[in-house]
């Protein structure tokens, strides 16, 4: 191994350990690691100024492809399209939350099913999956879990099973689209996939898995969530959904913007607008329509996550430039003995197991160049490997309370309201569900692509 490779690995491993230890905020960890990669790996070891510029990828902003892309292309270094898109969606979601959109939607659905626990349980699972297809799962679970607890207090049922099922379905829904989960945005923008590519590949298996999951959770939890009220529910005692709307005009505007975002994402393969353009457009229009509240919305954007992404991409760029990721790809090819089925199973299950314990974003960012290299050397279709990676990282995160952001937020909201969810309680129900969905996905990939 060369000095550059050794330092790239040390920085990467140290970064991962620091993220797990949680002593220093993770965005400082990745940014510091990124700066070290630029100076030590690229500057001192490689003495390669071009590699620094390639990794920073700033010139990408000036290219037409960054904003309007007719042919698929792959990106390298800092994935600015991912960052711009996530930032844009953050602004939009803040606008929607401020107008009371999410609370209204949850209350409205509870009302439509006449506040009966089993129908709420089923519709909330589906809503969690559908919303997570377009909005980050943290926001979805933050609102869903809070409303679930509120309804549980009113209807006297145990909210824990419902929150667990919502968390699982949020991660499942996120796997269905390019913008549903950060690993998918990274995979999609790095390999030049469209929203529709994801919907027709990972989306299809997510749909099948959602049906199976709803049935699974129904049988597992039906006794636990039975309401003390039974079917005698006095609807007049419940808050009116419209009370959730803080401002009718803002509510209407944010609903229209959300609709526009969905349409732009669904049609982006036809319009050739990149996710970066869509993110920027949605952010600008949200800020423009929010008038004097624009600054407030901008302040609420989670800049720490954006900085986390920037640092992360640089560190992964270090591994990529020094050829470490090729070594990993060679290793996977070697242990699979060239067997495509085994190679896919390794990508799917190793991604899932890793994502159950470590942040799936750095994992996905690291694995994208690995599967590129693997596809080039082994001849296995890159798309098939990409779907296995996306499903593995997105679904695997559901298995443990620390596997994905939605899990952390959901269990935290539950704990703060008197329903602590420990590892045992969480894993007993969601780990089997995760294994079932991964098994379905494995069969799906083999049947459809091999």
């Amino acid at each position: 191994m060369t000095a550059a490779q050794i330092f790239a690995v040390i920085i990467f491993v140290a970064m991962f350990i620091m993220i797990v230890l949680d002593k220093i905020e993770r965005h400082y960890v990745t940014l510091g690691s990124g700066i070290l990669t630029l100076t030590v790996v690229f500057g001192i070891c490689l003495r390669d100024g071009k590699a620094i510029w390639d990794t920073l990828a700033i010139k990408g902003f000036a290219t037409k492809d960054f904003w309007y892309q007719v042919t698929e292309s792959e990106s390298k270094g800092i994935n600015w399209a991912t960052i711009l898109f996530i930032a844009g969606m953050m602004v939009m979601v803040e606008g929607m939350a401020k107008a009371g959109f999410f609370r209204w939607l949850c209350m409205k659905i509870a009302y439509l099913v006449k506040c009966k626990t089993i129908p709420i349980f089923i519709t909330f699972m589906i809503m969690s999956a559908v919303l997570s297809m377009f909005i980050d799962s943290i926001t979805v679970i933050m609102f869903l879990a809070a409303v679930t607890i509120e309804l549980a207090q009113l209807l006297k049922f145990n909210p824990v099973p419902m929150i667990l099922a919502e968390i699982f379905c949020a991660n499942l829904g996120g796997s269905a689209t390019m913008c549903g989960d950060p690993p998918n945005i990274i995979v999609g923008t790095s390999l030049g996939f469209s929203f529709f590519d994801f919907l027709t590949n990972t989306g299809l298996v997510a749909g099948i898995s959602l049906v199976v999951s709803v049935i699974f959770f129904y049988f597992v939890f039906r006794k636990e969530i039975a309401s003390e009220h039974g079917s005698n529910i006095d609807m007049s005692k419940f808050p009116n959904p419209s009370e959730a709307i803080t401002n009718k005009k803002d509510f209407a505007i944010s609903s229209v913007i959300f609709g526009m975002a969905v349409i732009l994402l669904i049609t982006h393969a036809t319009t050739h607008l990149t996710v970066a353009t869509i993110g920027l457009f949605i952010a600008v229009i949200t800020l423009f329509t929010s008038g004097k509240h624009a600054i407030e919305l901008l302040k609420k954007v989670d800049y720490k996550t954006l900085v986390f992404f920037i640092g992360l991409f640089i560190v992964v760029g270090g591994l990529e430039e020094t050829g470490i990721l090729e070594l990993i790809a060679d290793f996977i090819e070697k242990i699979s003995g060239g067997n495509t089925m085994l190679m896919i199973a390794i990508i799917l299950w190793v991604s899932a197991i890793a994502s159950a314990f470590v942040d799936n974003i750095p994992f996905a960012a690291t694995m994208v160049p690995v599967i590129q290299s693997l596809a080039a050397t082994s001849g296995v279709n890159l798309n098939t490997l990409a779907w296995a990676l996306s499903i593995g990282t997105d679904i695997g995160g559901s298995a443990t309370p620390i596997g994905a952001s939605a899990n952390v937020v959901g269990t935290s909201v539950a704990a703060k309201n008197g329903h602590p969810i420990g590892w045992g309680k969480y894993c007993r129900k969601l780990a089997p569900a995760t294994i079932i969905v991964l098994a379905i996905s494995n069969v799906y990939i083999i049947v459809r692509y091999l």
């Binding site: 937020v409 935290s412 008197g418």
Partner: protein, 197 residues
């Protein structure tokens, strides 16, 4: 000073809690220590035993993760609920005594805060722990070490300063030097001087 908040950090076996209880009595103000557990239990619907299990306990880092201020760790959530509870009490203008809970840091923004740290000589602490918990000298020593390690980890995880570092507190005092009663007298005098300043 119409409002005053007395925070008492303490080494295990230094009689910190007994001193805090006596100060609360002398100043006729409520004390939040075990009472916090009951309050949190009532607020959340948890049993006091459940809250106690996670009270002032450091989390296992490898099994926990934090996202945008949310944490899956029950220990973290119980700690945050206690910090919020204390903050609300402080904000309301109430005077009280609080034992532990990183109060010297979490309530630092309130001018009413008088922060104390009680330490003790190991021999004295061992004697006290042997008597209260009916332990052998060896067991008392390891019990003290275990409890202090837990408190230190809890404190240092939730605060930037180090547990027991005199720079964090207005006054650090060794209760073994003058004995518990005289230590309380001195602390009472100090608190009165601060209140009447």
């Amino acid at each position: 000073m119409s409002q005053f908040i007395i925070s008492v950090g303490r080494e295990f076996g230094s009689a910190g809690r007994a001193i805090a209880e006596e100060l609360a009595k002398r100043f006729n103000i409520p004390i939040y220590d075990r009472h916090l557990i009951t309050e949190i239990a009532e607020k959340t619907g948890l049993t006091p035993e459940e809250v106690e299990k996670y009270n002032e306990a450091p989390k296992l880092k490898i099994l926990s993760r934090r996202v945008n201020g949310y944490s899956n760790s029950i220990e973290d959530n119980i700690a945050e609920m206690q910090f919020e509870f204390l903050d609300e009490k402080a904000k309301s203008g109430e005077s009280f005594v609080v034992v532990g809970r990183c109060a010297e840091t979490k309530l630092r923004k309130y001018p009413a805060l008088i922060s104390l740290f009680i330490l003790g000589d190991m021999e004295e602490k061992i004697k006290r722990v042997m008597k209260i918990y009916e332990l052998s000298e060896e067991d008392a020593k390891s019990f003290i070490a275990k409890k202090d390690k837990k408190r230190k980890r809890y404190h240092n995880y939730h605060c930037s300063g180090h547990w027991g570092d005199s720079r964090l507190y207005d006054l650090s005092i060794n209760s073994s030097r003058l004995g518990i009663d005289k230590t309380i007298d001195i602390l009472e005098q100090y608190i009165n001087s601060r209140i009447n300043k």
